[in-house]
Symmetry: C2
Subunit: 333 residues, 2 copies
Amino acid sequence: MAREAGVSPATVSNVLNGRWKQTSPATRERILEVAKRLNYRPNAMAAALRTRRTRTVAVVFTNILNPFYTAVLRGIQDEARRAGYTIVLANSDDSPDVERESLSTFRAQQVDGLIITTTGENDELLKTLPETGVPTVLVDRGDPELHLDTVRVDNVSAARAAVEYLIRLGHRRIAIISGLTTGAPTRAGRVEGYHQALEAAGIARAEEYEQILPSSVENGRAAAGTLLNLPDPPTALFAANTFLAIGAMECIRERGIQVPQQLSFLMFDDPEWSRIADPPITAVSQPTHRLGALAFQLLEARLRKKRPLKTEDIVLPTSLHIRRSCSTPDRNP
Amino acid sequence: MAREAGVSPATVSNVLNGRWKQTSPATRERILEVAKRLNYRPNAMAAALRTRRTRTVAVVFTNILNPFYTAVLRGIQDEARRAGYTIVLANSDDSPDVERESLSTFRAQQVDGLIITTTGENDELLKTLPETGVPTVLVDRGDPELHLDTVRVDNVSAARAAVEYLIRLGHRRIAIISGLTTGAPTRAGRVEGYHQALEAAGIARAEEYEQILPSSVENGRAAAGTLLNLPDPPTALFAANTFLAIGAMECIRERGIQVPQQLSFLMFDDPEWSRIADPPITAVSQPTHRLGALAFQLLEARLRKKRPLKTEDIVLPTSLHIRRSCSTPDRNP
DNA sequence: TTGAAAGCGTTACCAT
DNA sequence: ATGGTAACGCTTTCAA
């Protein structure tokens, strides 16, 4: 490229990187012209090697099939594009091993920053990240001990508010179907919120009403089946995420149970189809796109000033979208 | 690293890249030990600069919020991980400009390969890709003129089969809500299939039954509204993708129209929630994960042997999942 | 205003 | 079997 334009690589670099003030209009023009003619784009690897910056941010999510993460990812990407960053992506599938491996690969890749929803099983590793100098933001997870920037929602109070709504409707036999409460604090938080709501209302917990198992449609269906087979089945059901909710609804549907007449149903996460389910589902809605956008903005702030900056823990509000899947238990037979 | 182990960088490279046969067990041991102690990972930028290979594949999709693309992406990623490749991702939002920009960025990034669902408006650019030597696979799109590997489904016959099913049920007033038929051939294909089915059955097209507009939930709802306001409304509705289907169902729901008693409903794409909609929706299902997995495998084949390899056009079968949203129009009032 | 030259951290060739 | 060294294509400093 430099040869083609008859100038030195230094000058090309200057012009193409906006340091044109120190270049005469004539040469500048010529360089730009040649660059366009050759459809020239500087080799980012070479630049990265020299500058130690790749303008690349890695995202490690658990499973992109979950529409929650997809929406967060869009938030990240929209901001990244605006800021001129490229996103590299990995799915951990909640496996600490895969998470570690991805992190390692991305370190070799020299990514400028990291945005992750950790499995919660690699705290030791995450604790060392600040030293490595790779800015990191945790999304939808938060552990104060990690001293990392965080963007999340308050799962405890969100779940609590949801269950309190059910209690206010008059329910006392309320069941929850939740993902495993080990690892990511999200899931434990939702169960905790459920517990708090019950306790505040003086309702005793019942172990058989708590179905804790790996998140999947299949498990959601099975859990709902177990609950509905109980001698004293619940009058309300709280599904703690999208996959479990789909499975649970399938089971409910198969058995011909009327919602909300025979069973109130409420879910965490508010996918677009919740309005066209039968009936439209009352759901806890999270500001997904904003979670992602803010995560990137936090990261970008750190990317700019390499300096201290105290770690932030941003908690975004959720909202309970009341539709028609919940009613008073009086209407049960 | 080399200094730390007291050997030359060359030897380190040899050992770490599995060319250990030419190294004595003693030095090999030492290098491995030091590498582990320092938690050493070679700088991928430097290696890429030298080898001109990044072990990175770029994916350009239109919109990752669409669960169809998410599922395809998972297929790609699962294969990529197996093969030791990293995925970088961009959303074009169906904008040819953004698509061009992404492609340009990825070229600078020196990605080894490209997997894209093109907007259909950058054929000139895509035609030049083979020369650049960057292997490219088109997913869910196919234009023989581009001479690029392709993995897709036959949208024409899939849509045709779906509409023929409606016709077999006895419908003659069949409407379609589809995305814009410019650009991506997918959408035009679905409309074409609709036309073919009508024609084969000797049913005259009616322009007012064809709602062609940009894909969005909002537009889906509006289109359904328009159709239902017709003096002679359709007895069956075919929504050509997920977003339009959600919007259309919302409208149908709001108006209290019974499906399938008053209106049969059928959609292209088979999201996980189609079974818990009201009623469970009859849908054209695509092998999403396989589309992605095959796309990556095709790419990988090219990545391995730099040699010719004639371009492939793989067409995967779709299936019509018959559920309960369609019935004979006789049951209409 | 321009460019020469020194690296950045690897890999690959070629001596030893 | 081992390692010296050039080269990859940029950016950056410094001198002209």
